[in-house]
């Protein structure tokens, strides 16, 4: 019996030694290890034995089986590393696909600017999107009959006040939060207000009735135009890199005095002139100025004691410029083909 086992082991190992191809390996496996193979036959003998012999032989066969199986596995792995080897061996195949989430490009750019201003000690504020005529216009020095209040520019809510006028509207600018912020927090104040704004204009590739703006203001003692300029530069450098230049020229906004615009050297052509800047080398981004004393007063701040600057820009436009988006409608389209690119 013992001899039978020794012979079997010898035969097995010699035969295994001779295996050189995977075909031969298969044949070998069939001969020794299959259900009706030689090893199975050997083990089948156990059931014919009895008592102590059965116990001994059974243990020896089982021990031999695990040893030989191990040898076979070794040989197998030498010859053909693992099953399905032809799939794994191409390491250039793509990994398993995992769904990833995406933040909206407006969120991405908004956060960049929020982080910049938070680092400078600015608050981030928010204001109502459905706003009163008072905070959106009147408190900002936009008189009752200013063309900006025309029905064709502003979405009004169909709800008249006691005088029979529409006095609820979708805010046309984030500046609506200026007076609210001044009233609530007083001076000194440093804050930015990003948010959704609305204009009643037909949409096309360049116009969208719903878009985002970002407003910033700083109020304190002796805040001046040079301070405004430094902030305009900070914003430009953040957006378009450290070599960005700023250019300012007078522009009228009812809620600042003096009023200005702000242009940056075009990020694409660095001021040489290209398609993006329409050949001028400059991109008009900002509206800004020193806060009008009437606005400070409306916010309960004494313009003789405090002064301040304010600036604002179209966040949607920045997003479009940054990512080369050529159709304003994409931002609000909910089109996954667009959203999953960010």
């Amino acid at each position: 019996m013992k001899e039978q086992l020794i012979n079997f082991e010898k035969t097995f190992l010699v035969a295994l030694e001779l295996v050189k191809t995977s075909k031969e390996l298969d044949d070998f496996e069939h001969r020794f290890l299959s259900r009706k193979g030689e090893l199975a036959e050997l083990m089948g003998q156990i059931k014919n034995l009895e008592g102590e012999t059965r116990k001994e032989f059974g243990a020896a066969v089982n021990k031999l089986k695990s040893e030989l199986t191990l040898k076979f596995k070794e040989a197998q792995s030498k010859l053909s590393p693992v099953k399905n080897e032809n799939l794994i061996s191409d390491l250039t195949l793509p990994g398993k696909k995992v769904d990833v989430g995406h933040l909206h490009p407006l969120t991405l750019v908004r956060r960049e600017i929020e982080d910049l201003f938070t680092s400078l000690g600015f608050m981030i504020l928010d204001g109502p999107e459905l706003e009163s005529d008072y905070y959106n216009f009147e408190a900002l020095n936009v008189s009752k009959h200013h063309p900006a209040r025309d029905m064709q520019d502003t979405f009004y809510v169909d709800k008249k006040n006691e005088d029979g006028d529409y006095d609820l509207l979708m805010r046309t600018q984030t500046s609506n939060a200026q007076v609210r912020a001044l009233k609530k927090y007083g001076a000194p104040l440093k804050a930015i207000i990003p948010g959704r704004t609305f204009r009643n204009e037909a949409t096309d590739a360049r116009h969208e009735h719903t878009f985002y703006q970002l407003e910033g203001l700083m109020v304190g003692e002796n805040i001046n135009f040079a301070h405004l300029k430094s902030f305009c530069e900070i914003v430009g450098k953040k957006l378009y890199g450290p070599n960005t230049k700023l250019r300012m020229r007078p522009k009228f906004y009812p809620f600042v005095e003096p009023g200005s615009n702000g242009e940056y050297t075009c990020f694409l052509c660095a001021g040489k002139g290209c398609r993006v800047c329409k050949g001028s080398g400059w991109l008009e981004i900002l509206g800004c100025g020193l806060i009008h004393p009437d606005v400070l007063r409306a916010g309960g701040v004494d313009p003789e004691k405090y002064s301040g600057f304010a600036f604002g820009f179209g966040l949607s436009r920045l997003v479009m410029l940054k990512y080369g988006i050529d159709d304003a409608r994409l931002l609000m389209s909910g089109d996954k083909r667009f959203l999953e690119q960010f």
Binding site: D126, L130, Y156, V157, T210, H227, S230, R337
Partner: protein, 807 residues
């Protein structure tokens, strides 16, 4: 607005080195935006003087001629339809490749079998007038081959100014006002305009009958009659000036009113004296009609100011004159109107009539009432030049009711420097203001500044306004850039914005959702399809279209629309949106400072959407999102509960809708869109929407205690599996709650299997749990656990008729 460089030079002596390009760029830097610059001598490129050598009839067309035309470099065959073409004429020829003002590009073409290589131009084709009677015939002294612009001595340069940048500056709507700005920019002498005015008007006998009924809308009305008027074509210099700035010459009188307007900014109007005996300025009556100068018939209303002859309207004040009372070739006496009308009324009238004219554009900017008199005197001095026989035949009628006396504004040089962030020399400050026409005194660094009427009328009132004048001419680009100093105080952070950011990060970063931004508006069509009545919704008074006419009250409608628009491109959509919804009930924001008057409620919400072609148990997935989100926000303090709601949304599947509760507050709902709503809305995907209130989440966060660390027990837990058979209507939530609170040694209850129907019977289900028993202070004995479990089974049997199920 178009501005002639030559015209500006009538008033200002610029340095020799100044060029139109430089002037344009300086205007842009200091005053208004110049959008473009057009040199007249580069007008009509390719249009040159030519001589007609021969004219022959066209072989195949009676009305056409075939001409041979000498353009110096060659002789061209040109087919011409004009009846007046004749050999020997000098004419303007548009050569191949030329583009005419009307956009016509000249190409070689075959006209009825004859190849034509150019075009002989008529006046209208060149934008020089209305004449299309025949081709334009040039003087004998024209040189063959020279550009037409050169022949016409057109050497002016035209600046195109952005009207929007002029909206607050009524004083810049004429050449003289812009020349005044150049005077400051170049520190160059400005001609005194009073030198150009008729010094003294010797009045005639007649008293004009003028009555102003509405002195608020018409603060000043000057009228003066002239006799001996010969209406004729204007002299060339006058026509050239008008044409340079895009105004069509008509006749000498009309042209002159336009000329003075373009110079001073003050619109003038001339009536035919023979047709107008009496002038009354009043509001129009309802449905009054008037045929305007341009032939349009308009119906007026009671808000429009009109000029009448005492009975009928003869002009819409400040907008346009009437056809019947205007100057014609037979006119020999005129009444000249120089008036001041109220800006808002003019703007509204022009908008309502749909007639925006050069006059209305100026009046709506608020003109200086003094300008009316200046314009009248300028008109007279020019009229005398071009119509020598003219005579004033009436007294000057000057109806006026205005008060422009303004107090001087006081500001110190120190204040100017403080606001500038730099010291600006006092001499520079004084020079800027004086050149602009401000008069001032300097008392030890404190300036007392008197604002000129043409600025007081509209844009200058405060010391800040004066500061702007100083800074813009000093140059914004010349000011330094200085970082402000501020106290080191950490900014207040708003909890709702912090929460939003946290949500954005978790939803996109951990749950792998895509953020979407949808409109605040919804369509009533969409509401209807989802069975939502729009009556409670706030409506826009002036929506762009019926696609977006109501303010949304949920995020679901537009999220479902996202499914509709994306479903053909994707098999699965996982979106989130953070946005506002709007309700017709008072919210937290005040309307205008009064706490009792509040804006409609605007709640921020979080919307979650999962949609897929196959139903992959989306409901459970969204529930899992909500659970993990809450664990992220609240730690293990509270567990959400999902409750079957009493009232259902109109679009949700009643068997798959739950309200989400946390710490006894209702946060929102999760719902599977019902098959009928999906069909109605056109959804090809199975969609689940969750909507949660950020206000509620924020409120819970504010009171949520910090989750304290709990050390794992040193003693092993005993695990037991238990399955209960309960009635089909029994909720997992209720069963679990009872097990959990049954004994403090039960530390975890986790569902691992559910089974319904089959051998259990129709109305039964089985819920199988892993139970963990664990004590803090000892190793539990098996008997102890068995004891508790026995009691638990008994308790549940009594309470819910729950039967233990044997595996």
């Amino acid at each position: 607005m178009l501005i002639s460089y030559d015209w500006l030079n009538d008033f200002i002596k610029l340095p020799k080195t100044a060029t139109p390009e430089e002037v344009a760029s300086k205007f842009t830097k200091h005053t208004v935006e110049v959008e473009g610059l057009k040199k007249q001598d580069s007008q009509w490129p390719g249009v040159i003087v030519a001589k007609v050598l021969a004219v022959e009839p066209h072989p195949n067309a009676d009305r056409l001629r075939v001409t041979q035309v000498d353009i110096k470099s060659e002789v061209l065959t040109i087919v011409c339809g004009a009846p007046n073409v004749a050999a020997g004429q000098l004419v303007a020829v548009a050569t191949l490749g030329a583009v005419l003002p009307n956009g016509l590009e000249i190409k070689e073409s075959s006209l009825r079998g004859v190849v034509s290589r150019g075009m002989i131009c008529a006046e209208d084709e060149l934008g020089l007038g209305d004449n299309h009677e025949g081709i334009m015939v040039l003087n004998k002294n024209a040189k063959i081959g020279e550009p037409l612009a050169k022949y016409l001595k057109l050497t002016d340069v035209v600046l195109e100014i952005d009207n929007k940048s002029l909206s607050n500056r009524s004083d810049l709507w004429g050449h003289y006002g812009l020349a005044r700005e150049l005077g400051v920019i170049y520190e160059a002498p400005l001609k005194d305009y009073s030198e150009l005015l008729e010094p003294e008007i010797i009045e005639g006998e007649e008293s004009l009958n003028v009555k102003v009924e509405d002195t608020r809308l018409c603060q000043r009305y000057l009228a003066l009659a002239f006799g001996g008027v010969e209406v004729a074509e204007s002299p060339q210099w006058l026509k050239d000036r008008l044409q340079a700035v895009g105004v069509r010459p008509i006749n000498n009188i009309v042209d002159l009113t336009n000329y003075v307007m373009l110079e001073t900014g003050q619109p003038l109007h001339a009536f035919d004296r023979a047709l107008v005996d009496k002038i009354t300025i009043r509001l129009a009556k309802k449905k009054e009609q008037l045929v305007l100068l341009d032939g349009q018939e308009k119906e007026l209303d009671e808000e429009m100011l009109v000029i009448t002859d005492g009975e009928q309207p003869i002009a819409v004040a400040g907008v346009m004159g009437g056809k019947d009372s205007g100057v014609s070739l037979t006119t020999n006496e005129i009444i000249l109107e120089a008036a001041n009308f109220e800006a808002v009324s003019i703007r509204k009238t022009a908008a309502k009539l749909g007639v925006r004219t050069e006059a209305s554009m100026r009046f709506e900017k608020s003109l200086d009432p003094n300008l009316a008199e200046i314009a009248l005197r300028r008109f007279y001095s020019l009229l005398k030049q071009i119509v020598p026989g003219v005579k004033v035949i009436s007294k000057i009628s000057d109806q006026r009711k205005f008060n422009l006396s303004v107090e001087p504004v006081s500001l110190s040089l120190d204040w100017i420097n403080e606001r500038a962030g730099q010291e600006i020399p006092a001499t520079k400050v004084v020079s800027i203001l004086e050149r602009l026409g401000f008069s001032l005194t300097n008392d030890n660094g404190v300036l007392s500044v008197l604002i000129p009427s043409w600025r007081a009328a509209k844009d200058v009132r405060l010391k800040e306004d004066i500061l702007e004048e100083i800074l813009r001419f000093w140059g914004y680009d010349n000011l330094p850039s200085l970082a402000p100093m501020a106290s080191l105080i950490p900014p207040i952070r708003l909890a709702d914005l912090d929460l939003e950011r946290k949500l954005e990060d978790f939803l996109s970063g951990s749950l792998n959702l895509t953020e979407v931004q949808n409109y605040s508006f919804v369509s009533h069509h969409h509401l209807k399809k989802l069975g939502l009545g729009e009556s409670a919704y706030l409506k826009l008074a002036n929506p762009l279209s019926d696609q977006y006419d109501y303010l949304r009250q949920n995020l679901a409608v537009n999220l479902l629309n996202n499914v509709r628009t994306n479903q053909f491109n994707f098999s699965r959509l996982a979106f989130f949106e953070i946005g506002r919804v709007y309700f017709d009930t008072p919210g937290i924001f005040d309307k205008a400072g009064d706490d009792n008057d509040r804006l409609p409620y605007q709640q921020k919400r979080l919307g979650l959407l999962l949609a897929s072609k196959e139903d992959l148990d989306n409901f459970s997935v969204v529930k899992g999102w909500v659970e993990s989100l809450f664990e992220n926000l609240f730690g293990k303090n509270w567990e959400p509960e999902f409750v079957v709601p009493e009232d259902l949304s109109s679009y949700g599947d009643p068997s798959q809708t739950v309200r989400v509760r946390l710490n006894d507050r209702d946060l929102g709902m999760i719902t599977v869109i019902s098959a009928s709503a999906a069909k109605e809305f056109g959804l090809k995907m199975k969609a689940v929407v969750a909507e949660l209130s950020l206000v509620e989440i924020e409120a819970l966060l504010a009171v949520c205690p910090v989750h304290k660390y709990q050390a794992p027990s040193k003693y092993p837990a005993v695990e037991r599996d238990l399955a209960f058979v309960v009635s089909g209507g029994m909720l997992y939530n209720d069963l679990r709650k009872e097990i959990k609170k049954f004994n403090p040694l039960i530390t975890a209850v986790e569902l691992f299997d559910t089974y319904q129907g089959g051998q259990l019977g129709e109305d039964k289900k089985s819920l199988a749990f892993h139970l963990s028993y664990q004590a803090e202070d000892r190793t539990l004995r098996s008997e102890e656990v068995e004891e508790i479990q026995k009691e638990l089974v008994k308790y549940l049997e009594e309470k819910f008729s729950a039967q233990i199920r044997n595996f």
